[in-house]
């Protein structure tokens, strides 16, 4: 009996000989596909007019728990595309050596300027190799491996009370459809860059079909008011930039 259980151990290790390898190849021999939300390095992006999106508001510098971001705010100047005055960032440094990948800088960005990337930073031989300067951050944007989470999408996802009419219209569809599509639908229908018409059409199409069973979504809606009451009581304050 007991010897049989020793043979069991031999059997388990033997049957593992035939199982596929579960280790990933070395980075220079091909990389694994990361999840859509995977976050690793950083990039600064350009907005829809092709201008640098960062307005130099320094919110990311303030919220960073490791204090690794330093932003230099430039003078306000009119935007070439829209003609409206806006802030500019003259220098932006992010020290990946001490970054803890917490995504808080993305969370607070009011201009959708800083976005995390789905590829790891390349290890280097000097400390400066991990110091992301402004040029490196804008070069990272061209790698086209940006993660899913833009600040707007993150905030839309977390918002207890959707503000704008389109998300409210989409909300029953989101709630009625079982879990899947929840996040992308909410995010995409409100994101500026995604085509709103194309996205909202299927959402509207699902609304009447599933409208008959919104029983499940009623309690959360009812529970939102106390939550939103608590929020101001907690002393939620507007960020200084807005």
């Amino acid at each position: 009996m007991s010897l049989l259980s020793l043979a069991q151990a031999l059997r388990v290790s033997f049957q593992n000989l035939t199982r596929p390898k579960n280790t990933e190849p070395l980075p220079w021999k091909g990389s694994r596909e990361r999840a859509e939300r995977y976050r690793a390095s950083f990039a600064l992006v350009h907005d829809e007019h092709g201008e640098e999106a960062c307005i130099g508001c320094m919110l990311c510098e303030k919220i960073c728990p490791s204090q690794i971001i330093s932003v230099t705010q430039g003078p306000k100047a009119p935007s070439a595309a829209t003609g409206k005055p806006r802030g500019w960032c003259t220098d932006f440094t992010l020290d990946l050596n001490a970054c803890i990948i917490c995504e808080l800088c993305v969370q607070v960005c009011p201009a959708d300027a800083i976005i995390m990337m789905r590829v790891q930073e390349k290890p280097g031989f000097a400390r400066e190799d991990l110091l992301l300067t402004m040029e490196k951050l804008y070069a990272n944007e061209k790698l086209a491996k940006l993660t899913w989470a833009t600040p707007t999408k993150l905030q839309e996802m977390q918002d207890p009370k959707p503000k704008r009419p389109e998300p409210v219209a989409a909300a029953p569809a989101k709630d009625a459809a079982p879990i899947k599509d929840a996040a992308p639908a909410a995010g995409a229908s409100s994101a500026k860059d995604a085509a709103p018409g194309a996205e909202s059409a299927p959402a509207a199409g699902t609304t009447p079909s599933k409208d008959a069973e919104p029983a499940k979504e009623v309690p959360p809606v009812k529970e939102t008011p106390p939550a939103s009451d608590a929020a101001p009581a907690a002393g939620t304050e507007k960020p200084s930039d807005a």
């Binding site: 259980s5 020793l6 069991q8 151990a9 388990v12 290790s13 593992n16 579960n22 990361r34 999840a35 939300r37 995977y38 976050r39 919110l59 303030k62 919220i63 960073c64 728990p65 803890i100 990948i101 917490c102 995504e103 808080l104 969370q107 607070v108 899913w148 993150l154 905030q155 996802m157 977390q158 918002d159 207890p160 989101k174 709630d175 879990i179 929840a182 996040a183 992308p184 909410a186 499940k216 979504e217 309690p219 959360p220 809606v221 529970e223 939102t224 106390p226 939550a227 939103s228 608590a230 929020a231 009581a233 907690a234 002393g235 939620t236 304050e237 507007k238 960020p239 200084s240 807005a242």
Partner: protein, 421 residues
């Protein structure tokens, strides 16, 4: 104190049949464990047998099996330990002080690093304390997501424990390494689930005050079901791999814990449950969505390393069941009660204090926060279960051999990041 007698521990009733229990402080304690001799942790070495040729062995802080940087000073008589003194603090990072300097928004990613084997629990504990301070009601969807994540994290943590325990008992060049690799293969699946949900495999920063930061993505529940079903089948494989005479010889009767002593020292979690005390915060003081699901608490009465192994393996199965049950009932709705964080000083609770404790994979993980009305907590005290488990060591080591001390250390499953903070 006697030396070398711990191999013959009273094991009345063993694991099957009746176990006589006595009532100690309102808890049913197995009677045979109360008979254990309690060694003197403050044994005066000078008054020990002068004929004995004692050897002081510093196990750690760089030692393969002290799980990081614990240093245990062992006084050995031959290879039998007569006194063990653990020295803590080699991994002290001043997290509690750091919490006083950072704002409520910024603390979550920092406390992730405390118990670096189950970061989700740290986030949950500290954010629940902040929410108690704010008196904010977390939406049910967030509660369900938190609970599912916590249970997956518990599975991942116990998988890591099983692997490292294999390393302790079986060696890094041998069967232990094989077990380690197998458990890590399955733990990887748990981390992949978290990668899909939060974007990070570890140190997620997915909880925030008032709710979660990340909603469930499309198809995540199917992935969870697939992965957890797979892990459940692999747990049987680990049992087939491990439960043999060698493993039993190394664990049965090793590091038997007196539950009364454990209660005096504040030890909880699987260690206490393996000593026959039926105590689980998930069931006894439900938080998050644990009141929505039935929780079976595995209890063993032998109190040794093998009992702790049994409890943890059963807990793994139980966690898989809880996670799958809760996953089917995730309600729709918002995932956060507060407005999205838009600045470091967004959360400012009124002056007050709060203590919240949750059941982490290692036991009761408590957080005590005092607010003075500013955006940073006035004081943030963490009550790590690992610290209390490490305190057991001077009571367990005397009388056992170096090999047994290693097995005991492994079975206590403390995380030094949490002990030292």
């Amino acid at each position: 104190m006697t030396v070398g007698t711990t191999y013959e521990t009273p094991r009345a009733g063993e694991r099957k049949g009746e176990v006589r229990t006595v009532n100690v402080g309102g808890m049913r304690v197995p009677y045979h464990l109360t008979l254990l001799e309690r060694p003197d942790p403050y044994l005066d070495i000078d008054s020990y047998d002068p004929e004995a040729d004692l050897m002081a062995l510093n196990m750690g802080p760089q030692h393969p099996s002290t799980h990081g940087v614990l240093r245990v000073k062992l006084y050995l008589d031959g290879e039998t330990c007569i006194k063990a003194v653990p020295y803590l603090g080699y991994l002290h990072r001043g997290v509690e002080k750091l919490c006083e300097k950072l704002t409520y928004v910024q603390i979550t990613p920092i406390v992730d690093k405390n118990d670096y084997v189950s970061p989700m629990m740290n986030e949950l504990a500290i954010n629940m304390a902040f929410e108690a301070l704010l008196k904010v009601e977390v939406p049910p969807r967030a509660l369900f997501i938190r609970t599912v994540c916590a249970e997956i994290q518990r599975v991942a943590s116990h998988l890591l424990w099983l692997g490292t325990f294999g390393l302790d008992v079986g060696g890094g060049i041998g069967g232990g390494a094989t077990l380690f690799m197998h458990t890590f293969r399955e733990r990887e699946m748990c981390l992949d689930l978290f990668e899909n949900l939060t974007g990070c495999r570890f140190h997620y920063n997915t909880h925030q005050v008032g709710g979660n930061r990340h909603d469930i993505p499309e198809g995540w529940d199917q992935k969870v079901k697939r992965a957890l079903g797979h892990i459940a089948s692999r747990v049987d494989e680990y049992e087939a791999f491990v439960e043999n005479p060698i493993f039993k010889a190394r664990t049965i009767g090793v590091g038997v814990i007196d539950p009364i002593l454990a209660m005096e020292l504040g030890v909880c979690g699987p260690i206490l449950r393996a000593s026959g005390i039926d105590f689980d915060l998930r069931r006894d003081a439900p938080y998050a969505a644990y009141d929505k699901v039935e929780i079976n608490v595995p209890v063993e009465t032998a109190g040794d390393a093998y009992a702790r192994y049994l409890v943890r393996v059963r807990e793994m199965r139980e966690s898989i069941r809880i996670a799958l049950t809760l996953l089917d009932g995730v309600p729709e709705g918002p995932i956060s009660a507060l407005k999205p964080v838009k600045g470091p000083t967004n959360v400012k609770p009124k002056p007050g204090e709060a203590y919240v404790s949750i059941e982490s994979p290692r036991g009761e993980l408590g957080t005590y926060v005092i607010s003075d009305g500013s955006p940073n907590p006035y004081r943030c005290k963490l009550r790590p279960p690992s610290l209390h488990a490490a305190a057991l060591l001077p009571y367990l080591a005397p009388g056992s051999m170096v090999s047994d001390i290693v097995a005991t250390l492994g079975s206590l499953d403390f995380i030094l990041g949490e002990v030292d903070r």
